[in-house]
Amino acid sequence: MIRTRVGYAGGAKENPTYHNLGDHTETLQVDYDPSKISYEKLLELFWEEHDPTGRSWSRQYKAVVFYHDEEQKRSALASRDRLAAKLGKTIHTEVLPFTHFYAAENYHQKYYLRGHRQILKQFQQHYPQALDLMNSTAAARINGYLGGYGTPASFEADIDRLGLSAAALGELRERVGNKE
């Protein structure tokens, strides 16, 4: 996982916002290293993390795979069909072509990180531009650790590469430790 960002996609309205979403759907976009993880594995996680048999009652909260090319389209449709056969139920999650992604407002990005002032302050010094903070792998990793995910081994492997001061590192260690 290289970068993550939340935002809006699937609609025609230009420059949607959280309070003026138009015809868009709340969306997660992930940049990943295909030599480390496959798109099929991402799909597997996606199917596990939501109920694809549930109907969407609004465009804002639809379940969709937005494919970026024909290969992703084939993989998405194949995995959807396999799941439908396995469950014996209709899959309501849609598979649609990706058109455009609008990043959500800054306060939606790196949600857990934003709850820790000491660490956030340091990242804002590293990255005065919100776009750079959103695209930081370190910020994504720390956000995850603060959310209670990742493993102690991965945490220790990453810790020296996150660019944190001793104080911020102490806060992160304390928070991560409290969640173990």
């Binding site: 996982m1 699937g10 990943y32 290293d33 995850g144 493993t151 590469r161």
Partner: protein
């Protein structure tokens, strides 16, 4: 935005957290175009592989 997004992102981290980006090709350039080591930025941000792909999901 919903907490569910965070859960998915965290699931990704759980899967990929042990992936060492440093094992990938080091482009020596951050998103802002300057070597991370020059700017004192997190070194993990300088280890972004040359080839990445993008996936987009909405989870209902």
């Amino acid at each position: 935005m919903k907490t569910r997004w965070m859960l998915f992102i965290m699931a990704l981290l759980g899967v990929f957290g042990s992936t060492r980006l440093g094992d990938a090709q080091d482009s020596s350039a951050s998103q802002t175009g300057l070597p991370a080591t020059q700017k004192g930025l997190p070194s993990i941000d300088a280890a972004v592989p040359a080839k990445t792909e993008t996936a987009t999901f909405a989870m209902g």
